[in-house]
Amino acid sequence: MRPQRTLSWRSSAARWAVPALLGLVVAGSRGATPTHAPVIAAPGVANPAHIAAGGRPPPGPVVQNPYRGEPAIAHAGATLFVSMHCSDCHADAAAGAVGPNLGDGRWRYGASDAAVFRSIYYGRPRGMPAFGGLLGAQGVWVLVTYLRSLPPPPDLPTERFTQH
């Protein structure tokens, strides 16, 4: 059963359907309710690419992905990526449309799980909606796990053209 079918379009309130879906996705993929406690991120997570004045990066809370590397969660995240409309902005398989390509191994806001979490949880200024309120930390980590599982393409900085 494709999880988006659990969203009843007759129900006007997506906000009820969404947590239900999330529970279903995570539970269904793992056969049980997750045991990891979700970790809430707070402002101050460092992006290692940022230049630190005086060479001192500001300390931030340690934020860890409770599902890191779990294939079943990544699989559930792929479904969530469609049902949360991520794919309508980032294209199928996150290849990039209105929002950037999320599978090219390159990140505007940093490559760490924490940075990707922040992008989804709090949103980003050029029109990336904040999904933390809708999905909670747990749901966002499911998505982070999916995005980080996309096979990193061989970095292809050169595009060659064959004319006909």
Binding site: S11, A17, V18, A97, R108, R126, G127, P129, F161, H164
Partner: protein
Amino acid sequence: MPAGDYAATRYSPLDQIDVANAPRLHPVWSFSTGVLGGHEGQPLVVGDTMYVVTPWPNVLYAFDLGRPGYPLKWKYRPNVSRAAIGAACCDVVNRGAVYADGKIIYNLLDGHTVAVDAATGHPVWETKIASVADGETVTMAPLVIGDRVIVGASGGEFGIYGWIKGLDLATGRVVWTGHNLGPDAGMLIKAGEFHPPYVSGTELGVRSWANGTWKHGGGPVWGWISYDPKRDLLYYGTGNAGPYDAEQRGGDNRWTSSVLARRPEDGTLVWAYQFTPHDSWDYDATGAMVLADLTIGGKPVPALVHFDKNGFAYTLDRSTGRVLVAKPFTHETWAKSIDLATGRPVENPAMQTGDTKGNVKGICPSLEGGVSPASPPAYSPQTHLFYTSTNNFCMDYKVHQIAYIKGTPYMGVSSPYTPGPGGNLGAFIAWDAATGRVVWKDKEPYPSWSGALVTAGDVAFYGTLDGWFKAVDARTGKLLYRFKVGSGVVGAPIAFRGPDGRQYVAIYAGIGGDWALLAGDTSSDDPTDLRAPNPLVKNLASRTSQGGMVWIFGL
């Protein structure tokens, strides 16, 4: 005015540039706008000043055409929210400004209309007309009719409750808001004054949507407005219905994918006609409604001509909305014909889409349209022909059920494109709207996304996605002149007489619009966002990349 006149003909009575001397055209000036988004729309020349609106962040430039090198008189930089970028379905475009009453009036992507003093560049008023949080952005070119400024919002991909508004020219105050769907009262339907040609009854905008789905049904206004002073009617097209899964919104879904005729003063809806009932292919009808007086079967007809995304060109009686001629102008597979008695398409059952239909293959045109509504046509009263860009590619279409989540797309579609027959992905054509036939056709290797211009010199102008500005003989289509303008053209050319008395033609270069999504590899400004080439237009990025330029050509 964005289209040169109220009738939206994009015809210029200037004739200095003609078929004989057009091969001697050459660029006389160019200017980089400093902005990389898709440069749709057109410059606006008023007196000795040329005004240019850029894509987001919607800078307004005023060039002094009376001085050598056309230096800027001023530029106006509004503080437009960055958050609107993600809510714009198809790049952060703007389709141009309008002049009236000493003011330049245009829309900002983040849902505002601004009026700027045309002489000084100082803002006169600014009105919030749309809500980005609800998925509304504003890309259309406003039109001023009397003391009303007519504006609408994009957001057919975000589940908006589509509308058009009339603002007060002096103050910017919203005088009326007419929805394009939903209850009669919200649509500004008044008892005894609404006469759609093929249907009757009340609350059509509610009854044609299963389960109240009109509330997020789309029906945006992101194209062009035209106006007939004699009938005192303004005309505009509405966009697609949402979500893309048509089975989620049973019924005809009035009045999405339609043309609506209203009174400019108070917005009263006078008639409406739906091109694509129960839109199942994202066939917006936001393309221009061109008003022309034609002779059909020996009889003079006050016509309205519209090239629809669905691949048919319609010739309507603009007094009543009745269809007189409807014929395909490009390859299409979704309908056999349009039944003139009922006004309805005779649809191909194999091309119906929905979440129970699976992946439906070979639908032509694609959801990009047989022509993009962003590419307005032109009409010459001399040749009696219409000129338009066209596309020739198809799609597979697979939708899934989707829930409405405010602030995110309400789409749920996967729709890869495939080339249409004939080996060309686009063409620039001349069209006889009285009989519904192609008179000549200039094939283009890539989809043709530019607006058209035709002049009294019998020269038609357009640009190509791979960056050629072209002048062709309006009677034969023969290429007279071309020049590589640096980036693909998705804007529309204009002709004007300079302060020196000479005729010029101006056009934007700056690939974008849907091509910002479809050919993401034409972008190079973000090292963290690499896009694979689109198999449909594999080598496009070898011929063009992003970049906003204004060009002026002369003899």
